[in-house]
Amino acid sequence: MRDTYLRIWQLFTGVAVAVLLGIHIVMLHLTRLFGANAADLTSWESMLDRARQGALATVYIALLAFGLYHGLYGLRGIILELSPSHTTIRVINWVFIILGIIVFIGGTYVPIALLSS
């Protein structure tokens, strides 16, 4: 039953990532089509301006959380197709949980620090 819930979360995070990453890509990669100047978006001032907006920081942190879950759960599924033993599966689970937490903390530290800069 637990695996079913984890799988449903995989579908839910997939949809969430598609929406949030879609917003991110349209904002930063379809710039010329919407008349924006691409060079301005990568400037230090423009980056700081975006980093100070709480809504955008929230979007990026949510994107990181959903993306990490979706990616690591997907990678776990690929590895589990090799039919490892139950002990190996437990080790893989914990490695991915710890890796996900470390990357999430590392990835959210800077956006939160820049919010108040």
Binding site: L30, A38, T42, M47, G74, L75
Partner: protein, 147 residues
């Protein structure tokens, strides 16, 4: 008679690549995984740029952005966007398939029968067409000097 464990993967790592009788859909699924692994790798690199480089100040940030404006990085960036478009839309197709949607009305199993994959083949075709159209739009954006 030797008892077989239904959970056992008898193909091993070859099972990742071999599509068997599933043909097109199975290879689209393989590409789904390849693009997914590529996106995980990209996210890790992207996090390094947007955290470690960014926190070190304006000079390091601008040097990193100058490096990333190299045309080869732009090609790589386009491939990442293409991988995202493919992974997202093919993921939608896989979800529709997994949930048993778009199967049409049940019909008697009269030969020549249609299996589930062939019933959903129109969705596959539409999704592939959308991927190509979006790929062209993003290519146009990049060629126009977008990011």
């Amino acid at each position: 008679m030797k008892e077989r464990n239904p959970r056992q993967n008898y193909l091993g790592a070859r099972g990742w690549l071999w599509g068997g009788n599933y043909k097109l859909e199975r290879y689209l699924y393989l590409l789904h995984r390849v693009t997914g692994l590529g996106l995980i790798l990209f996210v890790m690199i992207h996090l390094i740029v947007t955290t470690i480089f960014r926190i070190q100040g304006q000079d390091i940030w601008e040097a990193a952005m100058a490096l990333l404006s190299n045309p080869w990085f732009k090609v790589g960036e386009y491939l990442v966007v293409l991988a995202f478009v493919y992974h997202g839309l093919n993921g939608l197709r896989l979800t529709i398939q997994e949930l048993g949607l778009a199967m049409g009305k049940p019909i008697p199993p009269v030969y020549p029968w249609k299996d589930a994959l062939r019933k959903q083949r129109p969705i596959t075709t539409v999704i592939l067409a959308i991927i190509v159209i979006l790929g062209v739009i993003f290519l146009f954006s990049y060629l126009q000097g977008g990011r």
